[in-house]
Amino acid sequence: MRRTDCLEALARHVTDADIVLPVYSTAFDWIDIRPHPLNYLSHGAMGLASSHALGLALGRPDKRVIVIDGDGSLLMNLGSLVTIGAAAPPNLFHFVCENGTYEANGGHPIPGRDKVDFAGLARASGYRVVYDFSDLGVFEKQIGAVLSETGPVFADLKISTGGPQERDYSRLHGPHVRKAFRDALAAS
């Protein structure tokens, strides 16, 4: 699957009330596809987006919190799967875009590429529902149902490596981005 096709399918089911945390390469695609002040873009580095998502899910149980992780990012914070499984927030939806590479850092392969089973890890960590998608048509048909589940929900998206991107990191880490999110969340 192409990442942008998956994100476009997902965006069709994301509402104005949802919080979305896209990571690295996915973030640059996502903010073009679905620009919105409730995109949470400043989660530092080293795979912490899923942890930020857990904080948001605990802090705002009235909202769906959707994290769109990378496989390399998730490997840096694998323990968060166990933490999320234990905390069991019903409003947390954890997608991982699995392309087997550190795409934002030169395209080098992740450890365990083609061996690691992200869906299996999530299932063993206590996620309530786990999906594994490798066919866009199936994903498009099921994404609505996925987002209607009681969480924590995990979905592994098998994607191809993305194309070249213009990566202006101020679009993710600039203070204006965080202020826009903070203001939007307070008003929402």
């Binding site: 912490l48 942890s51 857990l54 904080g55 933490t83």
Partner: protein, 176 residues
């Protein structure tokens, strides 16, 4: 920036007093990896209650992210860890707490610190370097060594949230 602890040779630290201060600070979540200094006096009693809610994490930098997310929701949180976990989380604290300007409040047990000895004068390298590292990062800290220091906790947390910056509360002896 630093706030020295009260040096009382026979000093003790009451865990119940610290927990009262945590609650007085309107902390709703305690996020923790167990730390031997605070295990019995703080973490165990906190685990027996429901307010604040305890979130157990696998690694301390997860906690920085969780507390960050909660801060955007205007929910107060405290990260209860050991200085080894603080060191392991330096990049998260650097990026998320300091550079983003978020009120990440950390209560840090000082493993192997000698009671009554200021951290900088500890014989333990892993204790001696804590305050210089925090100063290099520009992170405010307070020593909580004796009962008289406990009253620093709530104002320190209030200030962190008011000024949107991290704070570290260094627990220098095992609370009873």
């Amino acid at each position: 920036m630093p706030s020295a602890g009260t040096a009382i040779r026979e000093a003790f630290l009451d865990g119940a007093s610290i927990i009262r201060e945590i609650k007085a600070s309107r902390i709703e979540f305690v996020v923790s990896v167990p730390d031997i200094t605070t295990s019995e006096g703080l973490l165990r009693p906190l685990a027996q209650g429901t307010d604040p809610r305890l979130i157990r994490v696998c690694k301390e930098d997860e906690g920085v992210g969780i507390c960050a997310g909660l801060s955007y929701c205007r929910r107060r949180a405290l990260l209860l860890i050991q200085q080894t976990g603080l060191f392991d989380s330096i990049n998260a604290i650097r990026g998320v707490a300091v550079e983003y300007g978020l009120p990440i409040c950390m209560m840090v047990g000082l493993l192997e610190k000698e009671p009554g000895v200021p951290p900088r004068q500890s014989k333990r390298y892993g204790v001696r370097i804590v305050e210089p590292v925090l100063e290099a990062m520009g992170v405010t800290y307070h020593e909580i060594e004796a009962e008289a220091d406990v009253e620093k906790i709530a104002p320190a947390i209030d200030t962190a949230y008011a000024e949107m910056r991290p704070v570290v509360l260094l627990i220098g002896r095992r609370p009873s």
